[in-house]
């Protein structure tokens, strides 16, 4: 059910607005509806109840609250008593006055009304905290009826008094009980010896029993055992010291040569131990047993342990069978971001480290030189000879056709080699560095538009090309496709400009027909 006020803000007493009914009066009218309300704004909207959780300080507040309530009751009781007394007294007075003064009824009535009005005001002021009763408008009551009402009021007051007394007694009893309980608990805790700073002792302490005299003989026997052990330990230390002293004496007495001999023996034994440990397998992780905690290891009997040769269940026996990617010393790094491709030092070596035995053989077998370097990573990939071409591996293995030679293009440095290239018709060109050469004349009859511009552009060059006119025809057969409007650049370049024009040429690989 949604809250009555549609808000989560706490209930606050309404502000005083003159002429409007105060919250108390309106509350009493809405009592029934508020009972149904789940939240129930409460009959005491001003004072919220103290929290019910039982922690140590709240006991005192609860007791204090109880005490407070008791006081209120008394006050209320007193107030009620006062009221009753006043009512009685006034009733008596009225009775007296009325008997005397019949003619001044109106005055008396007004006085009574005033008095009753003042009474009602006092009532309201006293009963602020109680559930507000519906206050009746002061009405005139006839003489004979007044007395009846007065006595009824007194009787009602008495009943209320009794009820209140009973309640008060009950509450007192409850408060006493609470206090008693608390005291009892404290006493019990103190008796149990549990100090409140020691919150975690619990039953563990009882598990270890330290009462003496449970079994004197056993205890004495155990003590004897311990004592013997101590004595034994002492004797052993003494013996150790003695032995060391003896050893030192002995060595001093030996001559120098004997000392050296002993040292050599010792070192030989050490070396043997080292070697007998066995080589670590290919790419095995190195394990050093550490320089500290030697004593602890000795206690556990682990000081001679060597786990270099061992491997765990998942590990591969022969790492060389794995693919190269997985041949790492530390398998935990596989697939991780920071992984290096480092395997071992020998793999990184590009020199002749560790190859001293093969030196003699290599000398006669000097293919491709570079000081006998045969590391694949550093070999050139251009192979001139047909035989060497067969050695090309991987992506280099497919056949590649001859380089496309363009007539006007400058040749690279390699063309100068081997006597200026092979299979190349070089008679035509006398000067390879002259761009364009005989090609210029060929273009003239074909296209006039560019001719002018090109001519203007290279007006100078036209003169040179008169001489080459007899070659015109020999050239006209070649490579018509490559001549176009873009001028000499096309001729000079070895690669074509257009993206679509020469599809065939794009693939360098010679197309081998699959049969």
């Amino acid at each position: 059910m949604p809250p009555k006020r549609m808000t989560a803000n706490p209930v606050r007493p309404a502000r005083y607005r003159p002429g409007k009914p105060t919250a108390a009066e309106s509350e009493s009218s809405g009592d029934e509806s508020s009972d149904e309300d789940a939240e129930g704004a409460g009959q005491e909207p001003v004072v919220p109840l103290p929290p019910k959780a039982a922690s140590f300080p709240s006991d005192s507040t609860r007791i204090a609250n109880n005490l407070k309530k008791v006081d209120l009751n008394e006050r209320r009781e007193q107030a009620a008593a006062r009221e009753a007394a006043r009512v009685e007294a006034q009733a008596a007075e009225r009775a007296k006055e009325e008997e005397g003064f019949v003619t001044e009824e109106s005055e008396d009535e007004s006085q009574e009304e005033d008095e009753s009005g003042s009474e009602s005001e006092e009532e309201t002021s006293d009963e602020e905290e109680e559930p507000k009763k519906v206050l009746l408008r002061p009405t005139f009551i006839k003489k004979d009826k007044r007395a009846a009402i007065a006595t009824k009021a007194v009787a009602a007051g008495k009943l209320e008094e009794e009820k209140r007394m009973e309640e008060e007694e009950r509450r007192k009893a409850a408060a006493d009980e609470i206090v008693e309980e608390q005291l009892r608990r404290d006493a019990a805790a103190r008796a149990a010896g549990k100090k409140f700073w020691d919150d975690d002792e619990g039953e563990d302490a009882d598990a270890v029993d330290d009462t003496d005299g449970l079994d004197p003989e056993t205890e004495r026997a155990l003590w004897k055992l311990r004592e013997l052990k101590r004595v034994k330990r002492e004797r052993e230390t003494i013996e150790q010291a003695e032995k060391e002293r003896e050893e030192v004496e002995r060595r001093r007495n030996l001559s120098k040569e004997e000392r050296e001999e002993e040292d050599r023996e010792f070192m030989a034994r050490q070396r043997e131990e080292k070697e007998s440990r066995g080589k670590a397998g290919y790419l095995q992780k190195y394990y050093h047993k550490g320089a500290f905690f030697q004593d602890d290891q000795k206690e556990m009997g682990l000081d001679k342990r060597d786990i270099m040769g061992s491997r765990y269940q998942d590990e591969v026996a022969n790492r060389e069978l794995l693919p190269q990617y997985m041949q790492v010393r530390d398998m935990t790094r596989l697939g991780k971001k920071g992984r290096t491709k480092y395997k071992d030092l020998k793999g990184e070596d590009t020199g002749k480290w560790g190859e001293y035995d093969d030196r003699g053989q290599r000398r006669g077998d000097d293919r491709k030189g570079f000081g006998g370097m045969r590391d694949e990573r550093f070999m050139p990939d251009y192979e001139r000879d047909r035989e060497r071409r067969a050695e090309r591996t991987g992506a280099n293995a497919s056949e590649v056709r001859e380089r496309k030679r363009v007539e006007g293009a400058p040749e690279g440095p390699r063309s100068m080699r081997d006597g200026g290239g092979n299979g190349r018709d070089r008679d035509d060109k006398t000067d390879s560095y002259r761009p364009g050469g005989p090609d210029r004349e060929r273009r003239d009859p074909r296209e006039d538009d560019n001719r002018h511009t090109s001519r203007d552009y290279r007006g100078r060059d036209m003169e040179y090309h008169r001489e080459y006119s007899p070659r015109r025809r020999s050239r006209s057969r070649h490579d018509h496709r490559y001549r176009d409007r873009h001028g000499d650049d096309r001729d000079r370049r070895k690669r074509s400009n257009s993206p679509y024009g020469d599809r065939d040429d794009r693939d360098k690989r010679r197309k081998v027909d699959a049969k």
Binding site: G193, D198, D204, E217, A221, L222, K224, R235
Partner: protein, 248 residues
């Protein structure tokens, strides 16, 4: 001496003018982190305030375990009271009184701890060694729980180990060294007679059946002592073996 609420004044570098132990402020015998824990603990703040040598006994008799720190570094009452002793620096007589009392074993353990921290090496050995024959049980609080130990074991630890009860005991010369320096006499164990017999036989006859029997019986003596048998009877049996009768 003035008792102040915050015990940090004790370790204030500027103002210490009391008696020096081991050449320094005795509060520095306990390490700084442990010291801080003691100062911050409730036991210290509530129970150890304004104690003197007499009222300390009241606290000490309420002790139910020894130990250093437990859990996440919480100090035991034992450690707090030991620190209080360091602060009070009681006289030697009082300490001996604590030690020699027969009724309260934890008080004795506390005094032994104090002796180990503050006395001179020869004095330590001389004072503590008689208590190696006290085999009463003690409850020791470890980091995770409780353990059973004995008074003689505790004193042996004090004499031999480097670190007891969350304190690094300052290094003492070994008994051997002190004997060499003529400051101490050799220790005679309370069961010395029996041991002498065992060892004498082993040394005297190196390779004979009797000695083997002897050594076996020596072991048996030890084992019987470990079992529920009566130790005196075992000793008597050992003597009988000496005389040549065969044991089953």
């Amino acid at each position: 001496m003035t008792h102040r609420a915050d015990a940090k004044y004790m370790v204030d570098e500027r103002g210490y003018e009391g008696e020096l132990i081991r050449g320094q402020n005795p509060a520095l015998l306990i390490e700084k982190p442990v010291r801080e824990r003691i100062f911050d603990s409730y036991y210290w703040k509530e129970q150890c305030f304004g104690l003197n040598a007499a009222t300390l006994c009241d606290r000490a008799v309420e002790m139910t375990f020894i130990g250093g720190t437990y859990g996440q570094g919480k100090p035991t009452p034992f450690l707090c009271l030991a620190f209080k002793l360091l602060q009070l620096k009681p006289e030697r007589d009082i300490v001996m009184e604590y030690l020699n009392n027969e009724d309260f074993k934890y008080l004795r353990a506390l005094a032994a701890f104090y002796v180990r921290l503050t006395f001179d090496p020869a004095d330590i050995y001389k004072t503590l060694e008689p208590f190696l024959s006290d085999y009463r049980k003690l409850r020791r609080r470890t980091k995770t729980g409780f353990a059973l130990t004995y008074m003689d074991q505790f004193i042996d630890d004090l004499l031999m180990k480097d670190r007891v009860c969350a304190t690094s005991l300052w290094k003492m010369p070994s008994r051997q060294q002190l004997e060499d320096l003529e400051l101490l006499d050799e220790r005679i164990s309370p069961i010395g007679d029996e041991i002498d017999e065992i060892y004498a036989d082993e040394v005297a006859e190196p390779r004979s059946e009797d000695s083997e029997e002897e050594s076996e019986s020596g072991d048996e003596v030890i084992e019987n002592a470990g079992r529920a048998g009566d130790a005196d009877d075992a000793a008597e049996d050992a003597r009988e073996d000496q005389n040549g009768s065969v044991r089953d």
